[in-house]
Every structure is written in structure tokens, then in C-alpha cells.
């Protein structure tokens, strides 16, 4: 599709390990580039940030952003891999996209990923929780 080709042409140097499927484009970006990619997708192409998914794999913590281009139904999914499992840190995109505030807070809550430059880095779901639930979706050995 034209948008995907245009995007790859403009941002080609920053995209690694690309997987193309019907209406889906998954690719890896480095932590330093995620803000630029998000700005390009959101401001220039008019994508909407659907959500972001964090997951813990054996090689590190992955964050997968889902940008949806509503005109064509195309999904752009940049993936940031953090090797440091003890103390994960990523650049925040909340200053570019207002809607990312809650999404990043939730990831901080459930995985303990810290977003650098986030306006309000607090728990979202377990705020004021009386029990001992802390980062429940991390592997138990790693916690």
C-alpha cells in the first residue's frame, strides 16, 4: 500500500526486523527513535494510537505500540525491546500524544516500566491498593 511504502521510504534507516502481513506492519525501533516515529505516525500520517502492549519475554521486555491508520485499516506496530529487566526505562510519548498518558501509566503499574518524561508516573489500576499486588504481570522469578 502507498502509505506503507511512503513510511518505509521516509523512516527506513530506523526500522529493523520488519514483518509485513495483510494490513499489519510490525517492526523494531530503538528506544531513542520511538518518539520520532510516534510523531511521524501521529502528526504527519494522521494515525490514531490504539494502544500499547508490554510483554515480558526471555530476552527482555518488549513494548509494542499499535498505531491505526483509520482510512485504510492499516496497523503500524513499532516495537521497543528493553534488555535491562531489573530496571526498565523507555522514552515517553505522552508529550506527543495526549491519549498515551493512561496507557503508559498502566504499563508502569503492571510491569514496572518507567517512562522518561511522563507527566504523572503513578500507578493506574492498583493506586491506593491495600494489598501487596505489585507489578503482577512480571515473571515471578524476576520480581
Amino acid at each position: 500500500m502507498a502509505e506503507v511504502e511512503q513510511f518505509i521510504r521516509d523512516m527506513g534507516a530506523k526500522i529493523h526486523a520488519k514483518i509485513e502481513k495483510k494490513r499489519r506492519l510490525y517492526f523494531n525501533v530503538s528506544n531513542d527513535d520511538i518518539q520520532e516515529i510516534a510523531e511521524y505516525l501521529f502528526k504527519k500520517m494522521g494515525c490514531r494510537l490504539s494502544t500499547a502492549t508490554a510483554m515480558e519475554m526471555y530476552h527482555g521486555i518488549e513494548i509494542l505500540y499499535h498505531f491505526s491508520l483509520d482510512k485504510t485499516g492499516q496497523y503500524f506496530c513499532p516495537r521497543v525491546v528493553i534488555k535491562d529487566k531489573k530496571n526498565p526505562k523507555v522514552n515517553s510519548i505522552a508529550s506527543i500524544i495526549e491519549g498515551a498518558v493512561w496507557i503508559e501509566r498502566e504499563m508502569f503499574d503492571l510491569w514496572g516500566i518507567e517512562f522518561i518524561g511522563h507527566p504523572r508516573m503513578e500507578e493506574l489500576l492498583t493506586i491506593n491498593h491495600p494489598g501487596t499486588v505489585k507489578h503482577p504481570l512480571r515473571f515471578k522469578e524476576a520480581a
Binding site: T126, N128, H129, P130, G131, V133, P136
Partner: protein, 139 residues
């Protein structure tokens, strides 16, 4: 308390709290008030404050954050109060049994007098439960 209960049974006032349900049970409870089932004809009324209530309807698995609040609401209630648990969530935990955020023993949060099973229970079975409760109160 026999004479008191008999007077209570004439018109039960109900307060409803939700402790982490999927809110389907709650909607079915509200459904009881609307023209199809209309439990107000049986003298049952949903009230806005726990201090007016005779019956407390609870739904959901009670997550750990909400459990202290439920306890507090129960303590504020005028006694005697009858606690009716609506839905499988309260009785067994439904499909959320493995959740890290669930209160293991819901009976320790508040004492429950009656369970209505079903996910969600049909309005008819809720009405039957109320009728049974009235029967018990009448002795």
C-alpha cells in the same frame, strides 16, 4: 425479632453494591425495576442510601481494593440487614478464580445470607429468591 421481620417483609427496600462484577448482574438487577418485571408491585424498592435499606444485593468477585469499602458499607447499614449474593461470581469466583486481585473468602468480608447462582441469574430466579426471603421472614 419475629414481629419485626413480618413488618419488614411487607416492603423490602434494597440497596445494591457491585464488587468487581462484569456488571451484567447489575444490569439484570436494574432490569427488575423496569416494566417487564416491575418488582415494585411486590413492594420492593431500590433506594439510594444504605441507611434506608433492609436488603443488600452484592455482585462480583470482590477485588482487594474494593473489599474494605464493601465492609464499611455493611457496617453503616442498619441491622438487621439481609445480604443476598447475586451471580456465580460471589459464590465461586466464576472464571476469575485464578485472579491475583481476588478476595479468597468473601464470607469474611461480609456475612452472606443467600446465594443466587447463574451467570447472570435470570430475572425470574431473582424474583423467586426474593419470594423465598419474604417467606423466611414471615416465619
Amino acid at each position: 425479632m419475629g414481629w419485626y421481620n413480618k413488618r419488614l417483609a411487607k416492603s423490602l427496600w434494597v440497596f445494591h453494591i457491585s464488587g468487581s462484577p462484569c456488571n451484567n448482574c447489575d444490569i439484570e438487577i436494574l432490569d427488575l425495576l423496569t416494566p417487564r418485571y416491575d418488582v415494585e408491585r411486590l413492594g420492593i424498592k431500590l433506594v439510594g442510601s444504605i441507611r434506608h435499606a433492609d436488603v443488600l444485593l452484592v455482585t462480583g468477585i470482590f477485588n482487594q481494593k474494593i473489599a474494605p469499602k464493601i465492609k464499611k458499607i455493611y457496617e453503616q447499614a442498619p441491622k438487621p440487614i439481609f445480604v443476598v449474593a447475586v451471580g456465580t461470581c460471589v459464590s465461586s469466583g466464576c472464571c476469575f478464580k485464578e485472579s491475583y486481585n481476588r478476595v479468597e473468602k468473601r464470607e469474611e468480608v461480609i456475612p452472606i445470607d443467600m446465594y443466587i447462582p447463574g451467570c447472570p441469574p435470570k430475572p425470574e430466579s431473582m424474583i423467586e429468591a426474593v419470594v423465598k426471603l419474604v417467606g423466611v421472614l414471615n416465619g
